[in-house]
């Protein structure tokens, strides 16, 4: 039965698949950066003394965490061109959707990171005459970020897997490229198994690195 398989199709399409992977990685990188920044702002809002900010942060997080990412991708694919009244690249609407959606998850990570820093650290900052923004920027956030680095990376590995969902709006990431080749050459099995293998290897080694990092930090 295996004789019927032709894994040469992968070699022949490798440059095309690599282009797709580059788009996947770019989308992952930009989304992770944007949503960590936004998520940190949301976390600070949730922890602020201002009721309105707390409320906005909480609603944001609970809203996006109740929705499937797929729905959010469709929403922005449909919504962004309507709002800006012109054709928009699918990449841009996907990026906006990912940033707003993933920020809800990064927010909760950063929130617990900030809560893990003892109150005394902030007190010490204030006692030196630092303002709230300086205390957060120089003292609390760097420590929170460092403590949470393994979890932030794990979430980013999940985000990388999630970017495969842009397939539904036809954005040519690695997954979409694999599907395109699969359908054009009628080589579904080879391409889907290959895609699974590539994701498996990348994510598995990513998670090994996270584990290594965790052990290093606990020493």
């Amino acid at each position: 039965m295996l004789a019927a398989f032709d894994f040469g199709v992968i070699g022949r399409n490798l440059p095309y698949l690599w282009e797709g992977m580059q788009l996947s990685l770019l989308l992952t990188g930009l989304s992770a950066f944007g949503s960590i920044v936004l998520g940190t702002i949301l976390a600070l809002m949730r922890l602020s003394g201002i009721k309105l900010f707390q409320w906005i942060g909480a609603v944001w997080v609970n809203f996006f965490r109740s929705l499937p990412l797929l729905l959010v991708i469709f929403w922005f694919y449909f919504l962004v061109p309507v709002v800006v009244q012109q054709q928009v690249d699918a990449f841009q609407s996907a990026l906006i959707g990912f940033v707003l959606f993933e920020a809800a998850y990064y927010c909760e990570i950063m929130r617990s990171g900030i809560l893990s820093i003892s109150r005394g650290q902030a007190w010490a900052g204030y006692a030196l005459g630092l303002r709230y923004s300086q205390t957060m920027r120089y003292i609390v956030l760097p420590q929170a970020f460092r403590n949470m680095l393994p979890i932030l990376l794990t979430q980013t590995i999940i985000l990388f897997q999630d970017t495969s969902l842009v397939f539904v709006v036809g954005l040519a990431d690695f997954m979409t490229s694999a599907v395109n080749v699969a359908q054009r050459d009628s080589r579904l099995i080879e391409l889907y198994v290959f895609a699974a293998f590539v994701y498996l290897v990348m994510c598995y080694f990513g998670s090994l690195y996270v584990k290594h990092l965790q052990q290093k930090m606990h020493r």
């Binding site: 010490a124 006692a127 630092l130 003292i139």
Partner: protein
């Protein structure tokens, strides 16, 4: 210098500070003591606005701490504070810990800040240890870095919140000596929450004894150790001096 008038504070229903009135004059060293839970740590955190209070007034150098329009960061930059758990920033070296507020608050240049830091490290007996992270320093060394960090701001008063109670016994003296020099040589205005009665006797001008959120006794050092007027202070002293 520090003036506290009828201050009351509640944590929800719990009345932590009851009608506290006291003052610290310029150049004076005041020791605040009392059993744990007496409210003394809360009181000292109220002085630079780290803990809010609900009633009464605290003024430092004629600036009201509790007033809405007070620029707290500006006020705090003139008051040094030393904490029970040192609170060095673990992601920075000793040097960076001491430089941070000089750069970000006082706007000193990098080289100015480093020079000042080196002088201060010498002064607290830690010359050459500026490159160490707090995890590489002993408790006593960490607390001396914390004192240097507060002094780097050229404060007009220093607050010490149980500076030695997290230290191993053999390290207590190295910290107390630095504090004693600060009082004697610099004439620094100091408010010190501590159980170190030997330090109080040697250095303090007055001793304030608190219990259950109230000031029970406010006396000159000699009077306090001679004949405390209240039973509660006598009981506290007899317990603490046995050791």
């Amino acid at each position: 210098m520090i003036d506290i008038q009828n201050v009351n504070k509640w944590f929800d229903d719990f009345h932590v500070l009851k009608n506290i009135s006291m003052s610290v004059a310029k150049g004076e060293v005041i020791v605040v003591c009392g059993p744990s839970g007496s409210g003394k740590s809360t009181l000292i955190k109220c002085v630079n606005g780290l803990e809010p209070f609900q009633k009464g007034t605290i003024t430092v150098n004629d600036v009201s701490v509790g007033a809405k329009d007070t620029n707290l960061p500006e006020l705090r930059s003139h008051i040094g504070m030393v904490f029970q758990n040192f609170e060095l920033f673990p992601h920075m070296t000793a040097m960076q810990n001491i430089c941070l507020s000089q750069l970000k608050v006082l706007g000193r240049s990098q080289s100015e800040a480093q020079d000042r830091t080196n002088t201060l490290l010498d002064r607290v007996g830690l010359e050459g240890l500026g490159f160490k992270y707090s995890s590489e320093l002993s408790g006593g060394q960490q607390q001396r870095v914390a004192i240097a960090r507060a002094l780097a701001m050229d404060p007009f008063a220093m607050l010490f919140d149980e500076p030695t109670s997290a230290l191993d016994p053999e390290m207590i003296n190295e910290v107390l000596e630095v504090m004693q020099e600060l009082a004697r040589d610099d004439g620094m205005t100091m408010m010190v929450v501590t159980h170190e009665m030997g330090f109080a006797r040697r250095v303090a001008d007055r001793v304030i004894f608190m219990d259950e959120g109230e000031i029970v006794e406010d006396a000159n050092t000699d009077d306090f150790f001679g004949t405390p007027r209240s039973d509660r202070a006598q009981l506290f002293l007899s317990k603490i001096l046995q050791h």
